[in-house]
Amino acid sequence: MKRAVVAIGAFVLCTSMTAAMPAPAGAENPVIIAVVNDQSKVYADLSGQGTVAAVHMAVEDYGGAVLGRSIKVLSVDHQNDPALGANKAHELYEQDHVDAIFDVPTSSVALAVAGVAGADHKILFVTTGGTDALNMGQCNKYTFHYGYDTYALAQNTGKLITEQGGKRWYMITANYAFGQSMLANFSNAVKSAGGEVIHNDMVPFPNTDFSSYLINAQAMNPQVIGLMNAGDDTVNAMKQINEFGIKKRMEVGIGLLFESDIAALGPDYWSGSTITVGSYWNLDDKTRAWAARYKKRTGKMPTWVMMGNYSAVTQYLDAVARAKTDDADAVVKQLEGYKFEDVFARHAYIRAQDHLLIHDMYVAKIKPASQVKEPYDFLQIVKTVPGEDSYRPLSAVTCHL
């Protein structure tokens, strides 16, 4: 009997734990925002709890209140599971009265949560998720794509490398929507700059062993190896590119790379490669001051998507203040077309037609370890590209809001 009591007791405990959970929205009626991101799987270091800290910072910097109401921050780990992410998003919007959700890495989860935001008529800012389906085929009135997309990466990285003489590209592409859209955008950018794609390998995703493709690539003697993948796949590919000694003989064009990926191998594995970022902590005095405050708070250096989330929250709160209400439709109206400038977004505005943040992007070269002076001091910015030149022109936008 004792064993049964323990077993049943555990069940009751857990169920009652749940019953006790939902906190009633108090009399003071706060404005509630929530971070929904990966805090336990592959993107946890890229964004995860670091973004939660940055969002708290944004709220504090804003004074902790808007429209005379306090601001509450919730956070959910979506575990890279779209079902969990969408469920929690729906629960946050409908039951916890959350006004806006932020971050949402991983294409499948970002798109699922965007679907919920559209259905529930509540606001969503996707920062870490980069798929351009968010601002193209699957755009909706309540979803904002805030940070970067594959088009902007290609337009900057692909074009610059080709213009500097890297004409013949050998592509290694992760065979999923994100990789495919990156391949399409990079191929266009390379061609328009006078280069050519001599071969493409559609590699299953995820993948850890790239040696077969690297042997192939060497045989075809390209000038650039283009890595059209992200995260762990890019890290593994780069580790093996170094192993094969390829980095000494040809350029590596990396589609998408974050500070946390560089740290995973150490800068020497990446040095000399060109990447595009939406911001960088060591850009100027403003970003350095922000990063110093962030480091004091968390003990760590920020990735640029954490700065992006800080900015997204700040701009959202500002829009609420301008709208004089947290009603989603009114706030959307305030955000559309709004021109602004903050620590993250420069010469920035939110394009009304596709809800994409248009802002300056930065092309950077990765420094060797010998030039790295402090933690996360990985990048040498070589070019600042205005948002208008980085992002898809208005004429190519297919989104109907």
């Binding site: 064993r3 077993a7 555990a10 919730l74 499948s108 798109l111 065979n175 999923y176 994100f178």
Partner: protein
């Protein structure tokens, strides 16, 4: 042999059935309706799984292929062909049945650990195939924006609470059919095979045919759960086909109690509620759930309901032997 509680006492079974039903009717009032719907779907999935594990002793580590496979079939039919609820669900269940028959015909030739590994590998094969045919399945992005189908002419399933009760009804039907199978002559042959396969063979039963039928039935009901999943969520993704999904249903069944039919109905909410709450409380859900699972496998092997039934029966046995003692 995986141990299970012997056939349930009729009174206990009735009490558990009423308890599960009461829980089902109560859930949307104490929990968020999205989570409640998930619980009902997974409870059905786990009960279907228990039909195989508990009553044939076959541990499948690839049941995600029926759940996920059916979710894609139903999702595609609704998204691309605008099928309504019943035809889409029926087609998805048929698809799961077909997959189960195909895989079962190969896998059933081995048992025990081999069977577990073979089903695991087949499940992963389907995952990779779905990943590969991204034009159809949406690949890593998943199958998004699947609008809720119409139930019957004119009534769309847009209301979440209505959908919950539809799912509950489907789950009740599913679990009832599991019970029906388990308590039929067919079920008794399954039990006989489980206890002693050579003996059942010598009695003239074609044991592999019986096991295959159980496998296919289990797969079909898992498919029903999968079809409900895509309708409830308005999307499906590769995660439904991933081997972790197969692992999750194993965990729920073991937590609830193998071979009890009712156990999984309690194991599923236990697992899902904890996982849901952990997503806001900790960043290590696997650590907590893994430790609970290890403790259950090591110490409380009968699972929550199994231990309860066992304790009740033992107490009654004691009373019977020494009345008034």
């Amino acid at each position: 042999m995986i141990a299970r509680a012997a056939a349930l006492d009729r009174r206990i079974a009735l009490a558990l059935a009423l308890g599960a039903l009461a829980l089902g009717l109560l859930l949307p009032h104490v929990l968020y309706v999205g989570l409640a719907t998930d619980i009902v779907i997974w409870a059905l999935f786990a009960a279907a799984f228990d039909l195989l594990l508990g009553y044939t002793g076959l541990l499948s580590f690839g049941h995600a292929m029926f759940f996920g496979g059916a979710s894609y079939v139903a999702g595609l039919l609704i998204l691309r062909a605008h099928w309504s609820f019943f035809p889409a669900v029926a087609a998805a269940v048929l698809a799961a049945t077909a997959i189960a028959a195909l895989v079962g015909a190969i896998a059933i030739r081995r048992q025990g650990i081999y069977f577990a590994m073979i089903t695991l590998a087949f499940g992963q094969m389907l995952y990779f195939l779905a990943n590969q045919f991204g034009d159809w399945t949406g690949g890593q992005d998943g199958l998004q924006n699947v609008q809720r189908p119409t139930l019957i002419a004119g009534i769309r399933l847009d209301n979440d609470t209505l959908l919950y009760y539809i799912a509950l009804a489907a789950a009740v039907l599913g679990v009832a059919s599991v019970l029906r199978v388990v308590n039929s002559p067919f079920g008794r042959v399954l039990s006989a095979i489980r206890e002693n396969e050579p003996r059942a063979t010598s009695l003239g039963y074609r044991t592999s045919a019986y096991k295959l039928v159980a496998f296919v039935l289990s797969g079909a009901l898992a498919g029903l759960a999968g079809a409900l999943f895509v309708i409830a969520h308005r999307f499906t993704s590769l995660d439904t086909l991933d081997w972790h999904t197969s692992g999750e249903v194993v965990i729920m069944t073991v937590l609830g109690g193998i071979g009890t039919v009712f156990g999984p109905l309690f194991g599923a909410p236990f697992y899902l509620i904890i996982n849901d709450r952990l997503s806001t409380l900790t960043t290590s859900p696997g650590l907590v759930l893994g430790i609970i699972f290890i403790i259950v496998v090591s110490v409380f092997r009968r699972g929550m309901i199994g231990e309860l039934v066992y304790a009740l029966r033992r107490r009654r046995h004691v009373e019977h032997v020494a009345p008034g003692a």
